[in-house]
Structure formats: C-alpha cells, structure tokens
Symmetry: C2
Subunit: 173 residues, 2 copies
C-alpha cells in the first residue's frame, strides 16, 4: 500500500512538470485517428478519479461481489474537457487525486481487506489489491502514452537515429 | 528549437518528481537480465550530458563531417554510478542539463546551422537538427522506460486487468 501510494501521489506533479506550458502543438498532438492527445489523457485521468478507483474500492468494501462496478466510460473526456485549458485540467486532476488519496487513507484498508472481492462488468471477479495495483500501473501507462505521443512528433526530425529510439521505432526493447 | 528546449528543460524535474524518495525496490528494479533499472537510466542520462549531445553539437559546428563523433558508451553508468545515491544522481543530472542548455543558448544556433552536418561513427551523415531532435526523443524514451520498469513490478498484482494495461501486456496500442 505505501509503495502504491508513493506513485499515486507523484503522478499529478510528474505530468504537471512534463506538460504545463508546453506549446499547444504538443498538447493537442496525437498518434493518428482514434488516438489520444496529452490533453485527452489528462481528461481521462480526471474521469478515472471521479468514477473509477475510489468509487470501485467503496463498492468492493460495501457490497463485495453482489454489486458489479459501473462500466467505465473511456470517452467521457471528449465532452467533459471541451473548452477547458490544459492548466485547468492539470489543476483539477491534482485536486481530485489528493482528495482520493485522503479518502483511501480514511478507508483504513487492512491486509485482509486487500483480498476482498468485487465484480468487474467485463473481467469478473477482482480483488481490492488488484484494483489498487491497477490504479498505479494505469497512471504509468498514461505517462508512457503522453511521452510517446510527444516524442513521435519528431519521428522524421530524428533522421537516422530513428532506429536507436524505441519510442519512435515502436519496439519496447 | 524553442519546442525542443521546452522539453529538455522539463526532463530533470519530471524524473525527479517521479523517482526521488521512492522505495529502493523500485529504484533498483529492472525487466530481467541485461535490462536497466531507473537508477541505471539516470546514470546513462548523466553520461549523455557529459559526452553526447553538446560535445557532438560542438563537433558539428567546429569540424563538420571531417571529424566523426566519439562513440557513445552505453555502459559507462555501471562504473560511474557505483556507490552513488539516486538523489545525488538526480541532482547531478539537473545541474548538467541546466549547464548544457545554457551552453546551447550560447552557441546561438541559426536556422542554417541546424542543417550543418556531422559524422556519426555508425549512422554516417547526420545534421545538427537531427541531433537536437534526438536529444529530446531520447529523454522521452527513457521516461517511458522508467515508467514501464516500475509498472511491470505489478505485472502479477494487477490480476485480470493485465489485458487492459498496455504497459504490462507489452503492446504499444
């Protein structure tokens, strides 16, 4: 738990440092049709704070497997972030994350609680431990995505170095 | 140039926020034999600041294609970082990067300069523009690598969510 919280606490600041004040071209860049920009990703993380991690932890603790989680809307950010600035999204993400980590602390999750089960609408039985580990990995997944989207704007500019750069060549090496 | 510098300026702070104070288990974790830990990566970035980017830019501007770059030592960090703390490496990286960006500014690179050519010992002819774009993409490549190494420590813990997490499943999606 302490390890997980260490990462969850850091993500808003990490993304803030990476993105705040960057030229708009980078904030709005994506990797082609049906892919997300850094701006889209921050909206997606906000939606997760509102509807995914802590609400699902509460469902596990209060209802166990008797009540399935709400399905997560992977496209909510396209409406929710419309007309917003990146700065305001970064601020909102940081505020929501901080509140959610306070709420997590207030749940006083025990070792036994981590093994408690819930029901995912598609994946079936999951545990609270898996939910919290996924929260962490999901943060890092989107740090990767944002870094990759930005780097790929330089796919041509790097010239022959392209082969050495896994982020551009597409290998995970 | 301004875009490139915007990223190059941010990287030390981004990595500092992500890594400083994390439990040792995560700092030293890697992805198996012959892969690097976050600790190793920061040492590698330091070696790049010392021997790669600005030294190569100087060679291009002073010698053009008549003098090939020194080969870059991808393993220098294993000796150089030995016995160091992560905190001291993060400090050193930030200091070197700041100095190198000041030096880059002092070179007053013009649009024409960006097209000047140098000679890479393996890749052959490259331009200053390509070198600087690669510096940026290389930073982001290692932000990706560090995030991935950390997330993969949770490969089992995430349970059935594994399939949804590209960072763990290995797809770049």
């Amino acid at each position: 738990m302490a390890e997980a919280v260490a990462i969850l606490t850091r993500t808003p600041r990490t993304l803030d440092d990476l993105l705040r004040g960057l030229p708009d071209g980078w904030i709005a860049a994506n990797e082609g049709e049906n892919t997300w920009s850094p701006f889209d990703v921050i909206g997606h993380l906000i939606h997760g704070e509102r509807t995914d991690w802590i609400p699902r932890a509460r469902i596990i603790l209060e209802h166990g497997e008797t009540r399935a989680f709400e399905k997560f809307d992977r496209f909510a950010q396209f409406a929710d972030s419309s007309g917003r600035t990146l700065a305001s999204l970064l601020d909102e993400f940081a505020t929501l994350r901080q509140a959610n980590l306070r709420e997590l602390e207030s749940l006083r999750v025990s070792g036994d609680d981590l093994d408690r089960r819930g029901r995912h609408p598609e994946l079936g039985t999951v545990t609270l431990r898996q939910l919290l580990a996924t929260w962490v990995a999901h943060d890092l997944d989107h740090v990767v995505q944002i870094s990759r989207v930005i780097a790929r704007q330089y796919s041509d500019e790097v010239g022959p170095w392209r082969d050495y750069l896994r982020i551009i060549s597409g290998t995970q090496g």
